[in-house]
Symmetry: C2
Subunit: 138 residues, 2 copies
């Protein structure tokens, strides 16, 4: 993730301790955390960091394309540090666990011109739903 900090600094990002901590938290476990979870982990390292800063920083990272925002339910958005490798998500309908998955082919190929309604299409997100081994076995 020092790569990330380096990239951001060359883009004029001011490198504060708060931003460093948020970046470290995201890089620490490649897991899909909510903003509040990121805040909770950040507080462990920098007790006075505020919720507002975490929200700000996450928003900036998303804007810079370093982190993806994932909305798989109507609840809190989750933040995915794996923005530089195309992937999709597999979500457990039982416990909400999320895994990165890599389907074959390009989903855009499945959408014929006649189904594009004049849109300039930039991408596709796929959410596979199912039950994880734990939830399925009960």
């Amino acid at each position: 993730m020092s790569d990330l900090l380096e990239r951001l600094r060359t883009r004029g990002w001011r490198l504060t301790s708060q931003r460093r901590v948020v970046a470290e938290v995201l890089d620490g476990e490649h897991v899909h955390l909510t903003a509040d979870e990121v805040h909770a982990r950040a507080v462990e390292r920098l007790p006075e960091i505020s919720r507002a800063t975490v929200y700000n920083t996450l928003g900036e990272l998303v804007g810079l394309g370093e982190v993806l925002e994932v909305a798989t339910d109507g609840r809190a958005k989750r933040y995915d540090p794996n923005a530089h490798h195309a992937h999709q998500h597999l979500v457990c309908s039982g416990c909400g666990a999320i895994r990165d998955v890599h389907p074959q082919g390009d989903p855009l190929d499945a959408l014929p011109a006649g189904e594009r309604f004049g849109f300039v299409i930039s991408g596709a997100e796929i959410t596979y739903r199912g039950l994880c081994p734990d939830c399925a076995g009960r």
Copy 2:
């Protein structure tokens, strides 16, 4: 939509004026409304209907499989009355407009066994993103 009301009645649904109005609103325009938008339209026909009832009724319709819940952003969920025809969504990144689209093939076919991690997979939702003709032309 009287089909829908009929189906629900045979399943023991008590047919109240509130539920009828919510069902009519959803059926009226085949558009993806938020709960609050449904409430606003319902109030036009039945001024004393409460927000709680709209939420309850939408939740029941989703549970019964008559309406789909769509979460394309982190904001309010949207409700899709087109639950009986498999389809996906195309969302304008500019104005948020949503269209139903029908990609070719089954998205589940693109996910090899080795990428399923023992999940019992039940379905896939695809959100295509792009700019609608209006937003792209500016």
